[in-house]
Amino acid sequence: MKIVVTVKLVPDPNAEKRIDPTTKRLVRTGVETVLNPYDEYALEAGLQLKERAGGDSRVTVFSMGSAALKETLRRALAMGADDALVLSDTALEGSDVWASAYAMAKALSTLEFDLLIVGGLTDDSSTGAVPGALAEHLGLPCITNARKIDVGDGKLEVERETDVGYQIVRGSLPVLITTALTFGEPRYASLKGIMGAKKKTIGTIGVSDLSLDLPVGTSGSKTELRSFAPPPARGKGRTVEAADGVAGATSIFEFLREKKFV
């Protein structure tokens, strides 16, 4: 079985972030780059399916982003992916979801796969719109929010997480699936994996390697980021000063009732 997992390289979710007011883009200097946390679950799913299928099954990691950051993907290789491909080009700068997904789909269609596993959401832009757009461009069925995936004899059965329970969905290959966080904790990259990862390849392609019919980057984008604002700073908390415990508890209760928490 051939599996491709998409992984975006994002700024460390735990780091403090700033947006440059002129470029309206995230300032990446001084912030460590990591694998998008949702995509680690997608990778875990891919690796489990590869192990179950055995034989000459492979997991390829695909990422679109800066070539300078591509070594970050070594971690995905250390976790067990077989190789990686990065689509990187200055012509892609300024791409919105439409243009990004179009370019990614063109690159993905150069790869052979039965399963395309995509994370549900990125930690930086968080549109959640890429998976659907990719499925559309690639002409693939799209099954979102999977917590369990079974593949046998070219048949596919997926458990989808929903608000009220889960659904069982059957389908055929090839298919695009997004994973839910209930899929299972991503594995650690073992020492053997880390030592083995240096021998694996991270290939790079650019826009000229793709047969694009439409523009990408800023000119290919259909949306425009007009303005942005940091989240409002949290106000000062209210301090309750009370003569005794009962009075204190009463005023806290009143506050909770006022806010409709109780």
């Binding site: 971690r75 650690y188 073992s190 020492l191 053997k192 030592m195 240096k198």
Partner: protein, 382 residues
Amino acid sequence: MDFDLTDEQKAIQSLAREFASEEVAPRAEEMDREERFPYDLVAKMAELGFMGLPFSEEYGGAGADTVSYALAVMEIARADASTAITMAAHVSLGATPFYLFGTEKQKQQYLVPLARGEKLWGFGLTEPNAGSDAGNVQTKAELRDGRWLINGTKAFITNSGTDITGGTTITAVTGKRADGSREISNIIVPQDTPGFSRSRKYRKMGWRASDTRELSFVDAAVPEENLLGPRGEGYRQFLSILDGGRISVAALSIGLALGAYDQALAYSKERHAFGKPISKFQAISFKLVDMLTQIEHAKLMMLRAAWEKDEGRDYVQAASFAKLFAGELSHRVVNEALQIHGGYGFMDEYPISRMYRDQKINEIGEGTNEVQRLVLARLMGL
């Protein structure tokens, strides 16, 4: 000159840090209180490759270098010293002798399961009357009918009595040389050897979740081929094992100091007195600055020793410097870190109280502070 870690070294350090903070730290208090040996954590460390970290892949190891090993020990000790010594003693005292001195057959038989972490192994040098003066071994092994007949006692042997311990390699007097001096050799003693028994676990002040026991040998018999390395080379062999062990203990000490610093830093920001966080008092912030300055200092010394070892150079002096400095530094750091906690630091539920108890052995194990100075004085030609 280049201070950058390689990508592998960085990846191994962050693996160890993640593993330690996610899997080890939350368990440390309970393991210490109940003196419980963490079989499940050892199994996980084995699966991740920590138990055979520096050994080559052909013997079941991960093939990483000494710098990576030291960083891994440091990160695990930052969460829990007991778990770190279980791993470090297994690698540097249990498995390393086979790696350095074993025949191909011994490596296949003993080293492979150890490097995979399926079994643990002890190294028995210390005796009730031979500690710093390790050459004063009393345990005797006599060759009779193709078997070594062993009699004696070993004290304080780490990893010697767990359910997954495969055995212990011991030093023993195997005869007299032509010049009348005692001949010391290393002998492999599997756990099921008749006449070989282990005491209950010692009750300890620190490293309480690690396994330390007294070993007794009464006509314990092993085959002649259980000699490790050439006969009479035991003294030279254990000295070279202890040289590597010094890097381990330096890493353990620095990890513990870092862990204590982490605790003190967090506490100093949370704890308020006289209307502000205590970290805002210069007396406290200067302590924290001094702690981190010295930790950085020790880390450079340790990494240098590890790097020299990887480069195949003579690293004995660098390792002794690092072990001596880091052991004593960990004492100062845990002391100040506990001081920053005030009365709460004296309470068992705060990790710093465990770290304070876990610290002392860093100045005793694998060569006391005094012995470290003795070694260095000799190296300096004094």
